[in-house]
Subunit: 611 residues, 2 copies
């Protein structure tokens, strides 16, 4: 694997080379003898007939000489796939599912013990007492006991529930699903519950997008009636089921051996996943309907795992700070930090969390879909052909890095932030965000436009790729909301700017932001670059660690019950800071001393003044 | 009520005049002013428009002068109805269901508390913590809270589960269903869970009878496949649902306010009700599939109560001593007796229980359907026209009591026992059961027949009603099995005949047996008549008290775990005693000294001798 990655081969590496995911399958075309023999993990994850044809896991094979490999398409990363992954802290696996193999004595005339009592006393001998057998299990018991010659494996959920019986010893086969329902993306992960290994990860666009791009439009759609609410719920459940189906067919796992599903999402996505009325999320005072963690049965929800499997949802903090924020905190360990840290999950809504082990304050800001490329003239998602990096060496000399090194098709979120920061640095616009006259600037139908890529250099060859005045306004509103959210929490928690020691940017989009650009436009407070980190989709990571460890679920509950939520609509300070933050980096320049030195843009700053 | 009963009026009296059941509804035609004014209970149980038309509950109205009443058909007992009732010990009502009325504070911008947390903290203030909201409730919460102006009633099941939310204060509306699934009869009771009052009781033939009359034929049918097992289950569930529907329409109770259903039955009926494979009940060593008590959800079972309601089944002792036997013990308080007592639930199978507070032994005997009138030439169920009492004054002078004083149509179980006892007393047959030559005895196609009712005296006028030699053999086998079961338990428990202090005959059929006749034919041990009691359908009584009191459920569990089951197939002593008991009263005459003095039949007794 290391050899392949060094050679720049596009090879999937979901489990970081641990051999769990089986994603880095390669076909050895020549030089089999120059490879180490297949490891135990390879024998577990690759079908025997494939091994004999020369298929290997790159992460498990050591190269001792020349080898020619073929990388099948399904083992290539593909840029879009990666955005579902995020930093994951190590956790001790402590699954909510336990499987216990039993060898029973059949009943006799002198001891005609009932089947259920026979099972329960064998389990009691192994230390599990006060168990409840669920209805599905009870119905299967007499047949499975006899067909298996009284050798069976029982599946236990939590402390007290028996949810399945299988013939023979299947105690090693135990899998679970972690789901992150984002407003824009849906990610599904399958993990081995015995060792915590990730065996499948995939994401698609949230299929609810047809009902509206942002949270509010979906909430509005759901309020049309019970039918529409069910439609939204069914759409997301079907989306999850399709990814599960894909995971089962790729891994060969038996559906009935997926015993748990842990789901996170923002409060609206959580409620729509659960089919819960979320009308009130859109009405002041924006209360969540469900704040607690829940454990439901898969068949109640129509999810494609074992019908008796457990569906766990993490708690929500408020109407706009949901289970995904709790997952972020868990994955980034914000609740264990010694010093004051800022965690922002940047998305269509950005959740802002400020705190450390002493306590956490949170709020949510409607940053809008601009970072995802929406509402931007040439905006697009981070896919092949998107400008992801911009460097203005001189207004007439612009360097653009384009995903997959293709010709430019548009600009994605990280690219537009770069472009605006560079325009600011180079005096192409003023600190109020107004594009100034100059080279590559032209008058468009809605104000000035800055030409980033000339027509000839684009993929289509039809139209220049530009940054418009309206594009800049969109980004200003988005970044101002985020920064004002942060400042509001600083004031509510009586913290000083100096005490802030670390900034963590979570969210799939965040992975690609240039921290310097973000700092220059004032999206985040000024901070040495080495103390700004990007953790990717930590909502998904939080879901995965909660799937693997019930201790993490307890932590999630503890975080939810302690976190202090600030409703920005009730805070005058938010409005003040929002207006200040519409400037770039901000109208309070004293908070951005270094940035002030970098930018060449004319300063047009009006401070918000209380009347 | 007392006045009506004294006057011989056929008037329902299910709740023993407590005013709960509303069954003794009468219409006052004349003399309203001679009645006491309507009581609170009457106002609760009778619709207001009926009260104004002069409808009253007989049990609540005191008569102070002449009154003319009309008894509507539905308030008449009807002979068949009564057989579902049985003796019920008083219990302190402690329902598994609690309803709690809450007045909540709506969320505000400064405290935008989630709906579920709002509810749960209000419940915690009332002392209920660590509650789980079920999925159905969670889905209703946001709407019901707002539509009700934040005044709602929560329904709690057990210690930790919230299963419903309703607008307003409905805390007084809480009902449950007790079900006794007999092989022959199905009885359904509805009780008020707030005060324990019985508000509805009805029974029908078990609709599974079309699949076979006895337990074994139904087990055989179920083994044909999954479809047949489901067919049997659906048939009984539909039968129960039809009676529930009838109860709801008669009482005006809301289906969603039926929160629990407690079911008893013999092990086979229990398993078929649950849809559990019961093939093994018919195969040595006859183990039950389910021995434990279960709590399931109504919608899983398709039962017509609140879909989130709880279905509780009592534990089974063994393949042929089921939850109904536990219910009998509970209702008859066998587990609290100081002295050794015998409890027999007489039916197609007769469960025999022997013991006291020190311990209980049990077994089951296949007594067959003879007592229900089956396999008897002129046998019929205890309905209008059935001979229920027989007295032979002289072979030429026979007195028969016929149900409803109609002309005889046949003979029911109590009548045939009387007839055989009288034939024995009058020397019409010998102690081996052989009919002797004499008056009213004729040769039939299958041996001799004793003419009980001449052709002219029957309802049809077509054919004499006779007791055949085969009829006597059927009764001999049935009573021998019961007595041998009792004797086996006596030997297993090392008890002496003298220590037996009481005989309790349970079962609908038992209600009508003449204890002297039963003793004469040797169906039960010899015992002074005042120490033989008949308690009726105590399986139903046990189900009812377990519905009303969770303490009774704990008692049931304790009984089930302590009771000692004897599998008669493994006992040589059973076979010996069965052969002895084929004689009447028995070949061991020393155990029946008084009976020996009464009977005039020639003694033809061969004692079973071990070889």
């Amino acid at each position: 694997m290391a050899t392949a990655l060094q050679a720049g081969v596009d090879l999937a590496n979901i489990c970081s080379g641990k051999g769990y995911c089986g994603k880095c399958l390669v076909e050895v075309v020549e030089g089999v003898s120059n490879l180490s023999p297949p490891t135990e993990l390879e024998l577990k994850r690759i079908q025997p007939e494939k091994i004999s044809k020369g298929f290997r896991l790159a992460c498990q094979s050591k190269v001792r000489g020349n080898v020619i490999l073929k990388v099948p398409d399904q083992s290539r990363v593909g840029r879009q796939k990666l955005v579902i992954m995020g930093k994951e802290p190590p956790v001790v696996v402590k699954s909510n599912i336990r499987k216990i193999f039993l060898e029973l004595q059949p009943p006799t005339l002198l001891k005609p013990i009932a089947d259920d009592e026979n099972l329960l006393s064998a389990l009691a001998l192994k230390g599990d007492e006060n168990l409840r057998l669920n209805y599905t299990t009870v119905k299967k018991i007499p047949r499975v006991l006899r067909e298996s010659g009284w050798k069976v494996t029982m599946t236990l959920l939590g402390e007290n529930d028996v949810i399945d019986i299988q013939p023979g010893d299947t105690s090693k086969n135990s899998f679970g699903v972690a789901v992150d329902v984002g407003t824009t993306k849906l990610a599904v992960f399958i993990a081995d519950l015995t060792d915590g290994g990730l065996v499948f990860a995939d994401g698609v666009m949230n299929p609810q997008i047809k009902f509206g791009e942002d949270v509010i439009s979906r909430i509005n759609y759901s309020t049309h009636g019970e039918y529409q609410l069910r439609e939204l719920q069914n759409t997301i459940i079907e989306g999850i089921n399709e990814l599960i189906d894909k995971g089962l067919s790729e891994t060969g796992i038996n559906r009935d051996e997926l015993y748990e599903l842990v789901c996170v999402g923002n409060t609206a996505m959580h409620h729509l996943f659960m089919g819960i009325d979320c009308k009130n999320l859109g009405l002041s005072p924006y209360p969540a309907s469900m704040g607690k963690a829940y454990d439901l049965t898969a068949h109640e929800m129509g999810l494609g795992i074992n019908p008796s499997g457990n569906v766990h949802t993490l708690p929500n903090v408020a109407g706009f700070v949901g289970a995904d924020a709790i997952a972020d905190i868990l994955a980034c360990r914000l609740h264990e930090k010694e010093k004051l840290s800022l965690l922002m999950d940047v998305g269509t809504n950005t959740e802002v969390m400020l705190g450390n082990k002493e306590g956490i304050w949170s709020c949510s800001t409607a940053s809008g879909p601009a970072f995802e490329g929406a509402h931007i003239r040439h905006g697009m998602r981070a896919a092949s052909g998107a400008i992801e990096r911009v460097k203005i060496v001189h207004p007439l000399d612009i360097e653009c890095k384009i995903i997959d090194d293709e010709k430019a098709r548009g600009i994605c979120g990280s690219g537009i932030i770069d472009a605006i920061a560079e325009m600011l640095k180079n005096g192409i616009m003023d600190t109020s965000g107004r594009i100034l006259e100059g080279p590559r600037v032209r008058e468009g139908n809605n104000g000035r436009e800055f030409i980033l890529v000339t027509r000839e250099e684009t993929a289509s060859g039809q139209e220049e790729i530009v940054v418009t005045q309206d594009d800049i306004r969109e980004i200003q509103k988005a970044k101002a909301a985020m920064y004002a959210g942060y400042m509001t929490l600083m004031k509510k928690s009586n913290s000083t700017q100096k005490s802030l020691s670390e900034i963590i940017i979570a969210g799939a989009f965040g992975t690609y932001i240039d921290p310097e650009s973000a700092r220059i436009i004032g999206m985040i407070p000024e901070m040495p670059l080495e103390r700004i980190s990007f953790t990717g989709n930590t909502a998904g990571s939080g879901a995965r660690i909660c799937l693997k460890s019930i201790e993490c679920r307890k932590e999630a509950q503890a975080i939810a019950s302690k976190i202090r939520y600030v409703e920005l609509a009730a805070e005058q300070v938010f409005l003040e800071e929002y207006i200040n933050a519409m400037y770039m980096p901000n109208s309070k320049l004293e908070d951005f001393p270094e940035t002030v030195n970098i930018i060449k843009a004319p300063k047009v700053v009006k401070r918000y003044v209380k009347r």
